[in-house]
Amino acid sequence: MNDPRAHDRLDDEVEDELRFHLEGSVRELLEEGWSEDEARREAARRFGDFDRIRADCRGVRRETDLRQRRRGGMEALRNDVGLAIREVWRNRSLSLLVVLTLGLGIGFATALFSVVDGVLLRPLAYEAPERLVYVWQNDRATGTLREAAGTADFYDFRERARSFSAMSMFGRWNASLLRDDADPEDLDLVVAHHDLTGVLGIEPALGRFLTAAETEGRGGRVLVLTDDSWRRSFGADPNVIGQVVLLNGEPFDIVGVLPPGADAVMGGGVDGVTPLVMTPAQATRSPHYATVVARLRSGAALESARGEMTGIAAQLEEEVPENANRGAFVEPVSDFLRGDVRGTLWALMAAVGILLVLATLNVANLFLARASARSRESAVHTALGAGALRTARRNLSGTLILTGAAGLLGIGVAAVSLKLILQMVPRELIALGVPGLDGRVLGFALALVLGLGVAFGLAPTVVALRLDLRSALGQGRGDSSGGRFGSSLRRALVSGQAGLAGLLLVGAVLLGTTLRNLHGVDRGFRTESTLRMSFTLPENRYPTDFSVYPNWPERLDFQSETLRRVEELPGVEIAALVVNHPLDPGFTNSISIEGRGADPERGELTTRMVTPGYFELAGLRVVEGRAFEAADGIDHPGAVVVNRTAAERLFPDGSAIGSRIGFWGTGFREIVGIVADERVHGLREAAPPAFYTSLHQTPPAGGRLTLMVRTRGEPLQMAEPVRRAVWSVDPLLAISDVATMDATLATALQRERLASLVLAVFSGMALILAALGVYGVLSYAVARRKREFGIRLALGADGGRLRWGILRHGVGLVAVGLALGLGLARLAARGLDGLLFGVEAGSLPAYVGSATTLLLVALIAASIPAWRASRIAPAESLRAD
């Protein structure tokens, strides 16, 4: 506090005080008989060093003054806070409403921000990530935009391109990991070129990355772990370097661990990196499994790199016949990784932002209404010199308490909603950065709390300051809330919110109905109490010699033995092996019908390869003929089962049973039965025509099998016993993808579930806001007209009619907005067309239901002020002014 005027005052006081002493001292001496001059000199001498003492005293006085001010300030603050708390308590229902509304708003905004931050805002864990690009190939003939390249193309790109400072590649594969004292684990790996860390600009966290020698196959078999797998499978052991593990039975040395986030560019979920093991001479044009990633040279622009690569691809097309129609496409890594969701996330953020703004306006409105109802009190305050700062502080304490409470609630809401969101969001998204309630996100929440608190706190103050004192005190009816324009703005706000609520409600109803329909559709297969898990039979222990197909004893024996042992388990009802479970669309094959010749119009049939137990497990009814039996082995004639759709389409005359069809060039097989349809191409699409073969007759060459088990109790509880049963047949097999079919079904409906949740939540919030708006506007109107109502009631007006008038006002406001909102909904719902199922965008029940709900809510919200109006004691209303 360095106010010079205050200092002057204190200094003068000190001066006066000391002079008083001197004067008194002089007077005493005069009385003792001293002369005037001598008395003054003696008094001064007895006093001491006047200047020093005066300076000393002045210093201490200033300190004292400072302390007093501070103490006074603290006390005033405590007073204000105490008053604010009492205010909040007095209006506890309103305060609760405000805290709930804001808490929900802050919660959702924070949860969403967490996702946006993790996925979009936080930079990738690479050096200068904006310079990283993918160099895709594409195929003009089939019209693809992005494809992996052949390894030979990668090496050519690397040699010829000038726009990049570094270029590398990776390709995904998987292997089963075997260590001592651990169950076999399925690992998602990549093979990579040693320059990968150079391109990404990262250093290994432990050990080293691959060397050029290893890339070209002149080094040993080495493995570099990613941070995730190091923590998960190796317990973050710092001594992991040098350990030897078996990948698909082959020994690999662990030589390094990558830092966290290194695998984002590879799509996330990578467990380790092994060398490419291929020299340029050995590289091939196909298969295409090399994803090429490069760093733009500083000074090189994306456009010029694109042009260069297109040119190089054209060169290769001319030089190599195999590269016909193969072009190149350079794409920034962050565009690819984030492109899909950017739009959606920002749209969601904008939506939440709108809701938050509406909530803010609503709450501000409520505060204003209250402030203006007490405007006379504020006017008196101001007249007594309360000071703008003081008033501001009073209001601010109150609102900060409310927004603070809302903030705490909001963090809880954010935590819960984040958990829900994470369950429903695809895994690739999370690979970019797991959203969580970290420092940045909490900082965002704090900013919201403070910003809102200040906004609310200051608004009434600003209003109060512009109060016309004269009119407030003179007329006895302070009305400072913006007059005519302000009130029509408020009414528009309420109507607008009602419209928004109506719009969102329609969407929520439509999507809710869609979800219900999807769940209710006749899938054709059961998902309850069903467990599934997958494994790959490696070539080295389960050879696939096509010259003796289907006589593959290792595979056939594995299949039978595994099923036998699993079905022996007490909690298991029935088990089956399949190549694709019912929610996996699988693949198709073209077939020929014996005696009919080729028919290009016939198209292809979906191919399902199963064991006999599958039909009972999935609950597939046999419509005609029979399903597979144990006898249908490799020594028996080939048996095929078709589904009803296939039977009707191929044999409309009903002659399916007994006819023979052929595929894979392995001769014709007899159709022995027709089963009911399964919707294997997703729940929305009708069942495709399909045929089934038995794995005991046609063991698959690919080697990836899925075991499905119907359990007596909770399926996940049987996961461990079933795994042990499989391992008892082959202890080296890595088992992955353990899940229940119910969970798989939920994942299949992810998009709809997420959209449904979002709309439900938003419409709920909009509904609350609309109710709040109606309540606020009507309360304010009633408060303003308190005197008028009091007089009317005193003069014998009917309380009921008064109530009705107010209710009509409120409902009318909502109805206007509703009409607009529903109209907009009709237009906007068309955008939902892709998501809807079994319900039209214009479905009447949705609109009627939405309108009814909204009007009901409006009625309830309006009834409180209406009730209050009719209970105004006339005397009180007159006195209030």
Binding site: E13, G24, F47, G48, D56, T64
Partner: protein, 112 residues
């Protein structure tokens, strides 16, 4: 002439003397000085001015409360009175002082 004792060696004691002198009612600085002189039988003649920084520090530390008033001559003067905090401080310190000097006297073989 009574010996002039330098107030600095009696600083702590000075505080006690000041507090004691206003214990029975508010006084302005001059009156406090005279009372200390009177009650000590002129044995202690404090450098008069040094009283004032002491008074101000006691006020700063909350042991004294000060306000402007009118003196017996109808002049404006600053009066000091004991605060509640000052009163309890005074009582405590007086007890300690008595105990201290009593002990010293016993050591020196002086009867109380």
């Amino acid at each position: 002439m009574t010996p002039r004792i330098d107030s600095s060696s009696l600083y702590g004691t000075l505080n006690l003397l000041v507090l004691k002198s206003v214990a029975s009612g508010p006084l302005h600085g001059l009156a406090i000085a005279r009372r200390i002189q009177a009650e000590s039988d002129e044995a202690l003649r404090v450098e008069e001015g040094a009283l004032y920084p002491a008074l101000h520090r006691l006020e700063r530390d909350g042991l004294l409360e000060a306000s402007w008033g009118t003196s017996e001559n109808n002049r404006r003067a600053r009066f000091y009175r004991l605060s509640a905090k000052g009163r309890s401080y005074l009582e405590r310190e007086v007890e300690r002082w008595i105990a201290h000097t009593g002990a010293v006297a016993r050591v020196l073989g002086i009867d109380g």
